[in-house]
Symmetry: D5
Subunit: 146 residues, 10 copies
Amino acid sequence: MDKLTMTEKLVAAKLEKGVTWEVAGEALGMSPVWLASACLGMNSAPAEKAKAISEYFGLDEEVATALEVYPTKIWDQAVPTDPLIYRLYEVVGVYGETLKEVIQEKFGDGIMSAIDFSMEVDKIEDPKGDRVLLTLNGKFLPYKSW
Amino acid sequence: MDKLTMTEKLVAAKLEKGVTWEVAGEALGMSPVWLASACLGMNSAPAEKAKAISEYFGLDEEVATALEVYPTKIWDQAVPTDPLIYRLYEVVGVYGETLKEVIQEKFGDGIMSAIDFSMEVDKIEDPKGDRVLLTLNGKFLPYKSW
Amino acid sequence: MDKLTMTEKLVAAKLEKGVTWEVAGEALGMSPVWLASACLGMNSAPAEKAKAISEYFGLDEEVATALEVYPTKIWDQAVPTDPLIYRLYEVVGVYGETLKEVIQEKFGDGIMSAIDFSMEVDKIEDPKGDRVLLTLNGKFLPYKSW
Amino acid sequence: MDKLTMTEKLVAAKLEKGVTWEVAGEALGMSPVWLASACLGMNSAPAEKAKAISEYFGLDEEVATALEVYPTKIWDQAVPTDPLIYRLYEVVGVYGETLKEVIQEKFGDGIMSAIDFSMEVDKIEDPKGDRVLLTLNGKFLPYKSW
Amino acid sequence: MDKLTMTEKLVAAKLEKGVTWEVAGEALGMSPVWLASACLGMNSAPAEKAKAISEYFGLDEEVATALEVYPTKIWDQAVPTDPLIYRLYEVVGVYGETLKEVIQEKFGDGIMSAIDFSMEVDKIEDPKGDRVLLTLNGKFLPYKSW
Amino acid sequence: MDKLTMTEKLVAAKLEKGVTWEVAGEALGMSPVWLASACLGMNSAPAEKAKAISEYFGLDEEVATALEVYPTKIWDQAVPTDPLIYRLYEVVGVYGETLKEVIQEKFGDGIMSAIDFSMEVDKIEDPKGDRVLLTLNGKFLPYKSW
Amino acid sequence: MDKLTMTEKLVAAKLEKGVTWEVAGEALGMSPVWLASACLGMNSAPAEKAKAISEYFGLDEEVATALEVYPTKIWDQAVPTDPLIYRLYEVVGVYGETLKEVIQEKFGDGIMSAIDFSMEVDKIEDPKGDRVLLTLNGKFLPYKSW
Amino acid sequence: MDKLTMTEKLVAAKLEKGVTWEVAGEALGMSPVWLASACLGMNSAPAEKAKAISEYFGLDEEVATALEVYPTKIWDQAVPTDPLIYRLYEVVGVYGETLKEVIQEKFGDGIMSAIDFSMEVDKIEDPKGDRVLLTLNGKFLPYKSW
Amino acid sequence: MDKLTMTEKLVAAKLEKGVTWEVAGEALGMSPVWLASACLGMNSAPAEKAKAISEYFGLDEEVATALEVYPTKIWDQAVPTDPLIYRLYEVVGVYGETLKEVIQEKFGDGIMSAIDFSMEVDKIEDPKGDRVLLTLNGKFLPYKSW
Amino acid sequence: MDKLTMTEKLVAAKLEKGVTWEVAGEALGMSPVWLASACLGMNSAPAEKAKAISEYFGLDEEVATALEVYPTKIWDQAVPTDPLIYRLYEVVGVYGETLKEVIQEKFGDGIMSAIDFSMEVDKIEDPKGDRVLLTLNGKFLPYKSW
């Protein structure tokens, strides 16, 4: 089973079960962002987690196996068009140099890893309009000389 | 004075004064990320803040005026090459669809604003390697029907 | 049912019913532009409106459900080729800087939202050639400092 | 004098005179959008208007002559990055097909001219946040068969 | 019936009938260029002409209906590769600035319409090698100030 | 003297002399389109013509020499943005396949040369709006088998 | 039968017959390069040759007819990735300006035709490694003034 | 001295000396194509040849040194626009697959080197129009398995 | 059988057999990198090796034949998005100029062949985190003058 | 002093001193690849190393300071054109998928770091032609679930 079919099955099962990624994540002891990412095929799940996810959604072994596969991460749009995703791209464009300044001032020459990395989404209720809180947490990797 | 010259003057003055964006931000009562962004010319500063920044760095009126100018935000690389900035771009590519799923599940159809928006950088010390914590905080804007 | 199938069904039903977006919009109490946009799959419809649209065109529940889905907004052509759409793109290219000048002079540093946004099309009859009147109405969002 | 120098002189003179495009447009009997567009070098001004603009800003003949020159309209970014201009581009991407549907339903097969065209910007005050109103007015041009 | 199927049917019928676009155009009282363009799906035909074309080629109502549909004009190659089409693109690249100079010198600031437009192909026999004569005829549209 | 300087000198001299490309072309016995193209640096002029052009505009030997140089024909925009030039590009996009059909039907498999080629611009006065008439005349080159 | 199917049939028949393009070309009195090009669908074959090719490979009338069709020459990769083809592209990039210098020095201002053109591939045996000899033979086309 | 200055000096000296690449090449015992390529800065010359070239054109040591420098070979246009160079690009596009077929049939799996490579330009006089003969000679490099 | 089907069969057989590329490579006396590359369709296998691979995986003659076919090497993403592959691309971007300096200093003007080339992957165990060791081994090809 | 000036000074000093990167690296106790990379401005040097490099080449404090600056790593060509660098790009294109297979088989889901990374160039003398040996050594970073 390829990742595409796996995602279709998982999304359909989630709809039928009537749960959100948040509810499912809590039940499974996983972050909703990571869980969604694995189910959408952009991350692989370790064997136990793959099994737990598949069982939670009432799906079979094949789905668990597909969740374990290491994905080839491909996106087609160098510049995304969906407004929600574009705004994130815009943040990188507008604040990229700034973040480089501030991070490297704090940590030295290096980068924030996108591999040893996690991410959370929170909702801050606000009478003037609720706010989205994204938290990115990545290991700092210093450049080395040799 | 155009933004480019303004940035050169501010960066040189900061180097001479021997302060970081963090120290300067604390002294001025501004977030280091926002302060750096205004000094790099990617945000405009309200008149009072512009004056305060210019004075803090021992620069003249012209710099304050340039800080107030509304910038045209341009970046040349649709796909950034600097590794630190690219990793952020990669996060958008790998997790864009996932974030759309999780945010819209929590908030309904809409986006996280990149305008009514703020951002912080924190350092989490960790014996296995320090970690960068980025926090993005944007107002949720629902689509409207009409 | 995916958005593509939904659009095909709605467009066929509209043709059969022999109504225009304008007639349908008036009957349903919705703007023709918004209605067309939801039926073409570029906006989601709130549950009640989705039901009303589906019923108006004599279609079943599945279509209503598909109308409620939050779309991923994708367009393939960075520069559109269809002459009608290209002319709009050209307006953005020719007048973009000008609009930035005039809007920010009136409102301060910020943008016109494309999310909290509506749009109308009117026809002005004119013996020298009828004219198209497009009205874009978007909330002004000021940049914030922090 | 090339258009670039002309624009620099006009923008500096406007700043010194302390007027907005709106005030200047009213004084000169011209739309602020068109006036800004001519001064930014994206439209040519007829001789009389060119002279009036130049005199209003206290500039010499050369500026008037430069305003009369027919510009070669060039923009460098196929996809604009400035957030204000990008939002307009996004409107074309999201609503392009919809506008084609609605305009051609009302007018037949053809386009809205971007040449025989005018545009206005208005401010609608609103306690929940002011709104930008853009009005585009273009002649409808029907396709012909031959 | 979509435009693609329509084109396939028309091209097959033309082949079977053994006529050229020129012969068909003369029989139908239409320019061969316009006729080919409508049959290839890049222009819509008014109802009467659509019926006449469909009947001439011995095809049914559905083809006539498809000919009436307003097409979305899309081409995939920003720079065409077919040598015949590339040479036309090259003419635009090599002579574009020159044509702008000469047309605007003759007509003032404005453009040649590609909508209120027609085009003919003629053959000039020449012992040193026959020549292709393309004639483009478009309405001049002057820019307006407002 | 490079082509850029040559063009600046010729355009300035033409302005001072107060002639159009048409008047100059007639005086020199050359087509205005070709003359403009050579003066803009997109074609080389044979020695005699180069001398005649240079003398007509009261310029020196160096200009004549520069006119003789074989140009490297470069254009920066794969898709031109100036509206006048874009409309020509659009004609190639919309009618490219059609012209291939009609030309190859008349001439066989081959192309219209853009080298053994000439072009004229004419004005057709019309009470409903003057029209631009472009005439492209290129040698047909048949493909050969070998 | 479209060109794609035609190519598949010809390539399969060639494989079955166990001949090379060189052997087939010699038998048919055609250059192996031209023969391969026609069979791959990038050139049309005159009626007699089309018939001869089809018969040689034991295929029917339909293949002969497809060989006669004038192809639309399309390649998808502006920069080819296959190493053999890329090296040819690299030669154009590295030596393009040089060839322009040397050809125009020998022939005057003009180009080498890619239409009135033929090409051969030869093998030069060499103990230090065999060498490929490509010979391109194209008519020189001089620019004309008018 | 960088390659750009070197090329300017060599081209000026060649013009003054009144020789062609062919004459110079013959005098120096070098191929005109290679000589032009080295002088245009797209190949390095071994020390002795560099000295000989520099002396032949009456230039100093610095030019010889610059000729020896290993160039970074950069071209800006992925798709060249100059018609002479584009025709070569077109040959690669139209005949690339064909050449792959014919070369690999003759030599096995591998490529024609663009490094261990030479190229000649010849003129074939022909009453129907002279012809350009390009000869490319590159070592065949077989793929290896390991 | 095309390369795509071949790859699917080989990957499925490898999974069923439960071996890694390393184990299979050792058993077959081939490098795991080359073996994977041939099975993924990016290299052709000599007849004997093709037979050995096919037999090892329990597949038939057709697979062996497909392994022998000379592939057309195509990749779709000019800039790869998969993080593992992107990091390699980044190494080329960051260190390309440096490698040119160091290689040409050691070898003279020329390149490292990607054809007469092999590559190995090794694992270096390290308590602070295992390391990947890639070894690229390519023949140096000097430029030649002629 | 910006990185560009720094590089010019270092390269000139190296030329004058008459050393290679290898000799300089050995003298300074640094890898020639890393040393060249720092001097070309694509890596920052720790303070002590910066001082040592600057002194070795007989340059002043300013150069040492510039060597310490954290660079913004930018390359202009998404697809490099220089043949030496292109071959490396080609290796990534041809072997990218293969390396992903082999590395992830050995290490699990993750990547080879391009930050915690080093690289060496060696020369293998070979009577059939010397060979370049590139060794890339990067820390393996496993994806984490959370």
